[in-house]
């Protein structure tokens, strides 16, 4: 059984169908990526898993438990977290406070342990722990957003376009961190427009188009797929 099972997930905004009954699995300790163009429904998928968007129909199982309809904080408590699109750090809080609020549901002992771990992964966050998060650079804010999510000691971390608007070198850093987190046993569900890097990193990939999953397979295989190459990677056939 997979750690995260999505079955016939359907979401409508008003009369518009955003997700048209998609199903996919995320196995434990894998990196899984959803790729697709703008408006394909990638963000909606993650947001509905977190309970931020009401489902029209379908079921979401996490660790064998049905989680649709649950409150977001209960889902976070179970170890499923989301790094939202556009980083969304709290600009009026310091770096350290942002991290602490990521560990809001942890007791102080676990919080301290998680904080040391995050500082180990992102030494820059420790250097800048006193700085208001709104004044950090885009790359540092993304690191902070990932660090903040790790503070919850998650089993599954979902990331919505972590490479958005970042310099290529920073993107490389982010992805090496993602691999590192994964090697430590955290399952990763990743959304990317940067399909090339995402598919190289991921064990499994799913291709989304206008609310449907149109293709899936191991990351490397999708990378070789001619149609995907032309549609998402900008390479000729």
């Amino acid at each position: 059984m997979s750690l995260l099972e999505i079955r016939d997930l359907k979401v409508c905004y008003g009369g518009i169908v955003a997700l048209n009954g998609i199903s996919f699995d995320v196995n434990e300790s894998e990196i899984v990526t959803l790729i697709g163009a703008n408006g394909a429904g990638k963000s909606t998928t993650l947001r509905s898993i977190m309970g931020l968007v009401p489902l029209t129909s379908g079921t979401i199982f996490y660790d064998g438990v049905k989680i649709n309809g649950m409150e977001t904080r209960k889902i976070v408590e179970m170890g499923l977290v989301l790094v939202p699109e556009g980083r969304r750090v709290f600009p009026n809080l310091t770096t350290l406070e942002n991290l602490k609020i990521g560990g809001y549901l942890q007791d102080s002992k676990n919080e301290q342990k998680a904080l040391e771990h995050v500082y180990e992964l992102f030494p820059r966050l420790q250097e800048r722990h006193w700085q208001l998060a709104g004044t950090l650079s885009g790359g540092d804010q993304q690191m902070l957003a990932v660090g903040r999510a790790l503070m919850a000691n998650p089993k599954v971390i979902m990331m919505d376009e972590p490479s958005l608007g970042l310099a290529p070198l920073v993107v490389k850093d982010i992805f090496s961190i993602i691999r590192k987190i994964n090697e430590e046993g955290v399952t990763v569900l990743l959304i990317e427009q940067n399909a090339n890097v995402a598919l190289k990193t991921a064990h499994q990939g799913y291709v989304m188009e206008t609310g449907n999953i149109t293709n899936h397979g191991p990351g490397r295989e999708l990378l070789e797929n001619v149609d995907i190459r032309s549609a998402y990677l900008g390479k000729s056939k």
């Binding site: 931020l52 969304r88 809080l93 609020i101 809001y104």
Partner: protein, 293 residues
């Protein structure tokens, strides 16, 4: 006017300003979290006046004060639960209109229950005792109000800036959805905010009415509006701003009365609001929204 008279009026003004500051904090806190101007806040303050009258009729004053504050706090939380929470995802205008509705509901409900005839506010001999400082004379409540205000603001600032709950409040005030993703219970944060605001309004009410002799169902309207102006003047959403605004309006208003312009003293407050909105709409200490993308 002699120096003593001026100082005497300043003291009165500072005292009035302290009570205004306590009420203004309620506006600013709720606005900070929900982006809602809680028009019922002045009426919560008025209701606290009635609670005190009735509590003091049957209990000794320390118990009566505690009862008043507890009931006022619970009422504040209750109003949010029934009138604002169901509209959490509605357009902001809907909640604001709901707040206006609650305001009229409280005014008319208390007119129905307590009649519109002014009720004498009980005198606490303790608070009304006159002290002489040099040539100035002041009742204990006049001296107590600004001191208590400063102490409460200090405690509130520690709560907001140093505790986990305060951190959750600051996070929620910036971004509801991301706060949820952190596992923060938004409803609890909002309840805490209303509890603090109402508690301070309750304290402000006791200090304010002790100097005012009587309460009517409409006693909360004008002070409520003035404190709203104080919050806007200081920069709505900013706690020290609301305190500065409260003191400023209290002092200027008292001095205007002292100078013989008492008919103009209320108009001044609203003139201040108009000028502030024209010249510096974010208020004295309000933050501009600069967002980095």
């Amino acid at each position: 006017m002699s120096m003593t008279t001026i100082l005497q009026h300043c003291l009165t003004g500072i005292s009035l300003g302290g009570a205004y500051a306590l009420i203004a904090i309620g506006y600013t806190l709720v606005y900070g979290i929900l982006r809602l101007i809680n028009f019922a806040h002045g009426d919560i303050f008025m209701m606290a006046g009635y609670f005190m009258i009735f509590a003091l009729a049957s209990f000794p004053w320390p118990v009566a004060i505690i009862i008043t504050l507890v009931v006022t706090t619970v009422m504040g939380i209750g109003i949010e639960r029934f009138a604002y929470k169901p509209l959490r995802n509605a357009p902001r205008m809907s909640i604001m209109i709901s707040a206006i509705g609650v305001s009229y509901l409280l005014q008319n409900l208390s007119t129905y229950l307590f009649t519109a005839i002014p009720r004498g506010y009980p005198e606490l001999p303790y608070l009304k005792k006159i002290y002489q400082i040099g040539e100035l004379s002041a009742s204990f409540v006049t001296i107590l109000t600004p001191i208590l205000t400063i102490v409460l603001v200090f405690v509130l600032m520690i709560l907001v800036n140093k505790t986990k709950t305060g951190m959750a409040m600051r996070a929620t005030s910036k971004d509801f959805e991301t706060a949820k993703l952190m596992g923060i219970n938004i409803n609890r944060v909002v309840s805490v905010t209303f509890a603090i605001g109402s508690l301070l309004a309750g304290i402000g009410s006791i200090l304010y009415f002790t100097d005012r002799m009587s309460v009517t169902p409409f006693s909360g309207t004008l002070p409520g509006l003035k404190c709203f102006v104080a919050a806007v003047f200081g920069g709505i959403g900013n706690i020290p701003g609301a305190v500065v605004g409260g003191f400023f309006i209290g002092i200027v208003e008292t001095l205007l009365v002292a100078l013989g312009y008492s008919t103009f003293s209320d108009a001044f407050t609203f003139l201040l609001l108009i000028i502030m909105l024209l010249v510096k709409p974010t208020g004295l200490f309000g933050e501009k929204n600069v967002e980095k993308v």
